[in-house]
Amino acid sequence: MTQLLFILSHPPGSSIYAQEAFDAALAGSAFSNIALLFVGAGCLQLIEPKLAVEAHQRKDFQRGFRALPDYDVHNVYGCEDSFNQFRLHNQALVIQPTLLTQPDISALLKSVQRVLTF
């Protein structure tokens, strides 16, 4: 059962919030069963960041998404509406989340014990 759901809503690059939010999620995975949900501009974190990382010399924290199974994090979700809004369906992504509709997201929010929004 998922104890903590981390909602990730900040885009990468424009601030350090996305990177720090992922740090918090990894800390959560050490203590409990967690899930991640990418929403809104947060979905942009999933785009393969190679060019942006090279151009801005920032840390490629998204590489860590691929290691999530090693942290026993298997439930990674994305908002389907946001994916449509940002046209992410044909983009090269770091990892492919399970896409959820609005009713799916409502059900997810009800099923988890706590929600941490970043």
Partner: protein
């Protein structure tokens, strides 16, 4: 009910601290408990003892200190967020060989585990976003 607060916004450039302070005051005056107030992202800047806002404006650092003292709150800052933004207690200042420390009284620097623990043991966790 027992609450955990997760505050993320910068003190004077977002509404995060104002909302959180109002929420905390309302909560405590209604007899609810606050297990921990956790400051993350730019929210840790509120614990910079060197801030001196104009006297006719709200001083957020003092507001948290007063509330913390009145209700014996655990005002906890993320260490990684602090180090990145230059909020240092004596031991971190020494460790990184800095010339001064600037952590305001009443706040303590700890790790993300404190946010996770607070989230798991409280009845509700409320995030005040950046």
């Amino acid at each position: 009910m027992n609450f955990a607060l997760n505050i993320q916004g910068s003190p004077y450039t977002s509404n995060s601290h104002w909302s959180a302070l109002n929420f905390a005051q309302a909560c405590l005056s209604e007899g609810h408990g606050i297990h921990r107030v956790f400051f993350y992202h730019d929210a840790v800047l509120v614990a910079n003892a060197l801030q001196a806002p104009p006297q006719d404006e709200m001083n957020l650092t003092t507001a948290w200190q007063t509330l913390g003292q009145d209700y014996e709150l655990d005002l906890c800052l993320c260490v990684a967020s602090c180090l990145r933004r230059g909020i240092l207690n004596d031991s971190e200042a020494q460790r990184f060989e800095k010339t001064a420390s600037n952590l305001a009284a009443g706040f303590n620097i700890s790790g993300l585990g404190q946010l996770i623990e607070a989230s798991l043991v409280s009845d509700r966790v409320i995030s005040f976003g950046a």
